[in-house]
């Protein structure tokens, strides 16, 4: 124990004696450890911290499967049959999401609402902390209206007052009774992105629903595996179930319809996992570079300490004791780096959580906890041993007697030099991996930004509007509201044009769902599965295409004449036109949407418009059809109560926000407006996750490049310093300056060449990890690799210039003046 104290004191003194070295080492290590701690805390919060469910590994999601949509939500009959016909699940529950307007106490507020079957909390193994869950009665159609509050809403809107349970709330003009409060942080699987749901209402599925109507897929289904059942078994059973349904209802399903089950954990975090793992890999590499740099510094120092160590050995210090002492010093150094790094991380985590887009789930779980602290501590010790071991071993291994005599000077430093060179080559390799990754991500991002979204996003303001389904119960009342609102908006000064759509591209929920239709005169009766043409569906107002800047390629836009009672109209996008009418002109052709009575008229194609990348710039446009909202649906369905408004501004779209709000209030003061943002903001947040990963990896790559350059400079400068005399001798023997330059540069060149070769191999291997984050560029893109190698050559050359010049300027007369 005494020995350890002595080692510590000795190490502390050693570090204080060389403040410059200590500062550089601590800052380098703090950067590496801090970045690792910050990213790990995100990984910990998002990926590692268990989901707040009972045994979350025993939970599975259940999906239908179509080629276009590999994980498809279920329809009501599918859900009932899943419960009746499978054995892998002990129990299943279904849920969906929506939104509703809370009125009464305070300003009207639009809230995200989860609708779930009464059994869902039991499936997840979660119970309300106050009150109770939904009863059987409440889950039946027409049952008592009940609602569960989220902890967040309970605190925000009701001051965490437990007596709110039992009270009535007004949601969408309907009174409901609060029956309970869910635990803090609770969300249904897949609802962890953004703010999540703020309250939950019973789904009230009808057990007696028409089992033949299978077209409406809106249920997320979660099941708890029976004891002994596996996820694979559940997936196989689901697949068999869905294929069985297809056989029973051949007209309802496409030929490839199938089903599967996936893990709930994957469902919650699956989308961000690759990005997080890439970031974790990047910071690990950064730390390795930092370690290599500090090890290099220690090795350089070991040259000057060689005599001291030889002396200590001569005085009887054992080798293990020396190693311990040297390791104590490096672990102390690492500890200082760890502490500073942890402070950097606290600050970095705050920044990360602020910068992270809402699409990253569970951000509220991100922070420094015991696991993160343990990780940092372990990392710190590992780091200290990692960068301390090589110098320590070298220190005791070399020819100790040699260090005490003069003659063999040129020979003694050889081993250390080799290790330092290896370290630098390693740094170059790692820097190359990071720079390659960053370069691929930057190029992906730039290419993504160059993609034509299919409309002109500049000068557009968007907002979401939700009508109360009680006060606007009929389709007619909704049409009247919309017409009135668009009319008034169109007259607001500064507004070029106003339009609306069921869902705008790249905003909010991106799933607009597909719907199939048959072509007049081209399908069997009843239609075969192959007669159905699926397409994403939109309902829009006249002027939508002009407002958005979507080109009309043929035919016409909708007009006010496309109203109820007029002949049904439909506009298709270019992709759909090519798919459904290859080599023909679709304008004038007629189609009938599937699903029976919801929309039961033959519609005539009146126009073809350009493709829009609805689901984001990185997703290819899909076949899409547009229906005029005023005559949709033209059957027993009703006009949607929630739509997106889009305004094309003459100038700055943000300046229109107050007049938009005032105009909506003018039509109906109780209608809340939500998601007010410019189209460019919406598209920006859509790309925000990519952008963040790109910026982080680029930042790490720049730090890596800097550390690598410092490493090369350090080794070359040290080498030249050590070899000043040798260079003088070579000059005395007739070497011209060019030959000296070549000597130094070739040393550096070998380092760089070795590093680049190893780094390229590693980057090629690591590229697969990155593939999912890339866009229109392959992870093996040769140009990127050549470019990155060039960058490293330039950086290495820059780092070699000063030492090389110093070598050339060596005074050859030194050779004659020994000591």
């Amino acid at each position: 124990m005494n020995g350890v104290r002595q080692d510590l004191r000795y190490a502390w003194r050693g570090l204080r004696q060389r403040p410059g070295f200590t500062l550089v080492a601590v800052v380098t290590l703090a950067l590496g450890i801090g970045a690792n701690t910050a990213i790990f805390s995100v990984v910990n919060g998002v990926l590692l911290r268990p989901l707040p469910y009972d045994h979350p590994d025993r939970l599975a999601m259940v999906w239908g499967h179509r080629t276009q949509e590999p994980l498809a939500e279920l329809s009501v009959p599918e859900y009932w049959e899943l419960g009746e016909r499978t054995h892998a699940f002990a129990r299943v529950g279904a849920y969906a999401d929506g939104s509703a307007t809370l009125t009464g106490a305070g300003a009207p507020e639009r809230l995200r609402v989860g609708y779930m079957t009464a059994g869902v909390p039991a499936v997840l193994g979660v119970a309300p902390v106050v009150g109770r869950g939904f009863g059987r009665e409440e889950d039946l159609p027409g049952g008592p209206a009940a609602v569960l509050l989220s902890d967040a809403l309970w605190r925000r809107r009701f001051g965490a007052d437990p007596s709110v349970v039992g009270r009535a709330l007004t949601l969408d003009d309907t009174p409901l009774t609060v029956v309970g409060i869910m635990p803090p942080g609770f969300q249904l699987p897949d609802h962890y992105e953004g703010t999540g749901m703020e309250l939950w209402a019973p789904l009230q599925l009808d057990p007696a629903a028409d089992r033949s109507d299978r077209g409406w897929h809106f249920l997320d289904v979660v099941g708890r595996l029976r004891n002994g059942a596996t996820l694979e078994g559940a997936a196989a059973e689901t697949s068999a179930l869905m294929r069985g349904m297809r056989a029973e209802h051949p007209t309802e399903y496409a030929a490839e319809f199938d089903g599967t089950s996936t893990s709930v954990i994957g469902e919650v975090v699956g989308d961000v996992r690759p990005a997080l793992l890439v970031l974790l890999g990047a910071v690990a590499l950064l730390l390795l570079i930092a370690c290599a740099n500090v090890a290099g510094l220690l090795l350089a120092r070991a040259d000057t300490r060689q005599r001291e160590i030889a002396l200590r050995t001569a005085l009887g210090a054992g080798r293990s004791r020396l190693v311990r002492q040297l390791l104590t010093e490096s672990v102390l150094l690492a500890a200082a780096g760890g502490v500073v790094g942890a402070l950097l991380a606290v600050w970095g985590i705050r920044g990360l959580v602020l910068a992270a887009p809402a699409s990253v789930p569970r951000l509220d779980a991100v922070g420094i906890d015991v696991r993160v602290l343990g990780f940092t501590a372990a990392l710190t010790i590992l780091t200290g041993v990692l960068f301390g071991l090589a110098p320590a071993l070298h220190a005791i291994r070399g020819d100790l007697t040699g260090a005490l005599t003069d003659g063999a000077r040129a020979g003694t430093a050889g081993g250390r030099q080799r290790t330092r060179r290896l370290l630098v080559a390693g740094q170059i390799a790692i820097a190359l991996v990071l720079v390659t990754g960053a370069s691929l991500l930057v190029q992906s991002f730039l290419r993504l930004r160059q993609v034509d979204p299919g409309f002109r996003p500049e000068h557009l303001l968007t907002a979401r509007i939700e009508l109360s389904t009680v006060r606007y119960a009929t389709s007619d009342s909704r049409r009247t509201f919309y017409r009135e609102l668009l009319d008034r908006l169109g007259r607001v000064p500064g507004v070029r044009s106003a339009a609306m759509a069921r869902a705008l591209p790249m905003t909010g929920k991106l799933e607009i769902g597909d719907w199939s239709f048959v072509l007049e005169g081209r399908s069997a009766s009843p239609p075969l599965p192959s007669d159905w043409h699926p397409a994403d569906w939109q309902a829009v107002s006249p002027g939508y295409f002009a407002t958005m800047g979507i080109p009309i390629l043929r035919g016409r836009d909708f007009t006010a004449d496309d109203r109820v009672g007029a002949p049904g109209a439909i506009v298709v996008n270019r992709t759909l036109a090519r798919q459904a009418w290859p080599g023909e002109d679709p304008v004038g052709q007629r189609v009938l949407l599937g699903g029976g009575s919801v929309d039961s008229v033959w519609r005539t194609v009146v126009g073809i418009v350009g493709d829009v990348r609805h689901r984001g710039l990185s997703t290819e446009p899909r076949p899409e059809m547009y229906l005029p909202y005023a005559q949709f649906p033209a059957g027993t369905g009703s006009v949607t109560p929630s739509v997106s408004i889009v305004l094309r501004a003459a100038g700055d779209p943000e300046a229109l926000v107050p007049s938009l709000a005032a105009t909506v209030r003018g039509v109906d003061p109780d209608i809340p407006l939500s998601s007010v943002q410019t189209m460019e903001q919406a598209m920006g947040s859509w790309a925000a996750e990519r952008r963040l990963v790109m910026l982080l990896v680029t930042g790490f790559a720049l730090v890596a490049l800097t550390l690598g350059a410092v490493g090369i400079y350090g080794v070359m400068a040290h080498l030249v310093g050590q070899r000043e005399r040798e260079i003088g001798i070579r000059m005395a023997l007739g070497a011209v300056p060019d030959q000296i330059l070549r000597l130094v540069v070739s040393q550096s060149a070998w380092l760089v060449a070795g590093g680049i070769a190893a780094g390229t191999a590693a980057a090629l291997a690591a590229g697969r990890l990155l593939a999912g984050l890339l866009f229109h560029i392959r992870p093996t893109d040769p140009l990127t690799f050549v470019g990155t190698a060039l960058i490293l050559v330039v950086v290495a050359a820059a780092a070699t210039v000063a030492p090389a010049l110093r070598a050339v300027r060596t005074d050859p007369a030194h050779a004659l003046r020994s000591e």
């Binding site: 003659g407 040129a410 020979g411 005399r725 023997l733 007739g734 070497a735 004659l816």
Partner: protein, 236 residues
């Protein structure tokens, strides 16, 4: 054969001033010195009198501040660093007190190095290296590294390195300074043989034995040649 009429080396009015932190050191002043081809000249004098400075100017490692230096009929005091390096590679062989072998290179590679710098073709290099090492009796140590040799052996390698390229002049600064008397005698004998075979030698020394070996001794005091000093005589 070296030029018979002109001296191989002619220094006229040569001086060297070092400037350091406002201090001027007149290391050499007004040196006039001729050395003929085939001569064996010993340079002696007290410490700090300028012996090493003189040798580094003779070896074109340094340039004089004033005066002229003509080597084999060619003025060399105004050459550029690169030009001096080329003359050095061709015309000068160095033997240092501290041997100054390069630790990373083998005996063979050490001897070969100046020949490489001179741009000699590989096969010529090989025979020259082997001949030089044969001459110093170290043919059996070609693959050894300097650290594996004794001091005397290292200095013999250094001699081989200096003579392998058949330079016009061999310059040695205290070549036996780091050797015991037996090894020193060996190296001294080697230098004598080289001179008898026609090599021109300038040797800086404190060692009285050299003064006997040398045909002529030049005495330096405070940067000046001491005229008519008893030792500056031709020993016939």
């Amino acid at each position: 054969m070296p030029l018979a009429i002109d001296p191989l080396i002619r220094l006229t009015g040569l001086s060297k001033i070092f400037h350091t932190d406002e201090v001027e050191t007149h290391a050499l002043s007004g040196i006039d010195l001729d050395i003929k081809a085939g001569e064996y000249v010993a340079v002696c004098g007290p410490s700090g009198c300028g012996k090493t400075t003189l040798l580094s100017i003779l070896g074109l490692l340094d340039t004089p501040s004033e005066g002229s230096f003509v080597l084999a009929g060619e003025p060399v005091s105004t050459l550029s660093a690169a030009q001096r390096a080329r003359v050095r590679a061709r015309a000068v062989g160095f033997i240092f007190q501290a041997f100054n072998l390069i630790g990373d290179l083998t005996v063979y590679q050490n001897v070969e190095l100046p020949l490489k710098y001179r741009g000699m073709p590989a096969d010529e290099r090989r025979s020259a290296v082997l001949a030089a090492l044969d001459r110093v009796g170290l043919l059996h140590r070609l693959k050894h590294y300097p650290s594996q040799l004794s001091g005397g052996q290292q200095q013999r390698v250094a001699v081989a390195r200096a003579v392998a390229g058949r330079p016009l002049v061999l310059l040695a600064d205290e070549p036996t300074g780091n050797l015991d008397s037996a090894n020193g005698a060996e190296v001294t004998a080697l230098l004598r043989e080289l001179n008898q075979d026609g090599a021109t030698l300038v040797v800086v020394t404190h060692d009285p034995r050299y003064l006997r070996e040398a045909r002529r001794t030049v005495y330096l005091f405070d940067g000046r040649l001491v005229p008519g000093a008893p030792l500056d005589v031709e020993v016939a």
